[in-house]
């Protein structure tokens, strides 16, 4: 069972309630595909990913970034039981999408960096710690059903 302090809970809820999903989602996924090009292996049918400019203007990537970010809503709404909440999504990523779970950490790091850019100095060390704790649990839960 994960223990959340009041600060951590309110910080996570605040970050996601203030987030512009249409901005952060695409920015995070694009940045991930540019900074860690091997992650492009999961997007073979997304069209042109040949260079940074192509990735950043790719509409399918942008749309998928929004989808992935909304996927985190479930965790935000069920912070006390993220593991169970994500059981189905974990099976999906393992059995159907065949995503190497190490990639979850890569996207998590990128998301931290994008959120930091949007929040500026509001993204204090304590806020970063809470956000990374949340992401670590999401990542662990998504990797749970792999075998």
């Amino acid at each position: 069972m994960v223990e959340w302090t009041d600060f951590e809970r309110s910080t996570i809820e605040s970050i996601f309630s203030k987030m512009d999903y249409e901005d952060v989602g695409p920015a995070a996924l694009c940045r991930c595909l540019v900074v860690y090009p091997w992650t492009q292996r999961y997007f073979g049918n997304f069209g042109n990913l040949y260079n940074a400019a192509a990735i950043m203007s790719n509409k399918m990537v942008a749309q998928h970034g929004i989808t992935v970010l909304h996927g985190m809503d479930r965790a935000v709404k069920n912070m006390d039981n993220i593991k169970a909440t994500y059981a189905e999504l974990s099976v999906l990523h393992s059995e159907k999408l065949h995503v190497d779970p190490d990639n979850f950490k890569l996207l998590g790091d990128i998301l931290t960096i994008v959120v930091a850019a949007r929040m500026g100095t509001d993204f204090t060390a304590e806020v970063q710690a809470a956000f990374q704790k949340f992401l670590a649990i999401v990542i662990s839960s998504l990797g749970r059903q792999y075998h």
Partner: protein
């Protein structure tokens, strides 16, 4: 994952922008690392004050960032250029290299916060590659 000419140019260009806020970057990176990854405090147990922005943290933050600038000057041969620093980390400080990645992540977060417009995905890629090479060069003398 060698640095291309384009990578080197992107790194040098961004470092020039960083120089205007060196102290801030150094202090913030180190402060943040100590808070977000408390296990890193074990290397600084001899400091009087480990709180964010304290005297020792500020002083040391500047030392770290100057190390990064020094590495950028030697970008064409990091392994040989950073031999002395590698010996320091290997034989004296004995910092577990896993912490280099932690430090790098904190630095990238701070750069993203302070330079939201300039820290584009392409610059992020180049700086990440560069810092990974620096970490590798620092690990050279470990064993």
């Amino acid at each position: 994952m060698t640095l291309s000419a384009k990578d080197k140019a992107a790194v040098k260009g961004f470092m020039a922008k960083m120089k205007s806020r060196s102290e801030e970057i150094g202090t913030e990176t180190l402060s943040r690392m100590l808070v977000v990854y408390p296990q890193t405090k074990s290397y600084f147990a001899h400091w009087k004050d480990l709180s964010p922005g304290s005297g020792p943290v500020k002083e040391h933050g500047i030392i770290f960032i100057n190390g990064v600038y020094e590495a950028a000057e030697k970008i064409d041969d990091l392994k040989n250029g950073l031999l002395t620093l590698s010996e320091l980390h290997a034989f004296m400080l004995r910092v577990d290299p896993v912490n280099f990645k932690i430090f790098i992540h904190c630095m990238l977060v701070v750069l993203s916060m302070l330079f939201p417009e300039d820290f584009t995905p392409q610059v992020h890629l180049a700086v990440d590659k560069f810092l990974a090479q620096v970490a590798l060069a620092l690990s050279e003398k470990y064993r």
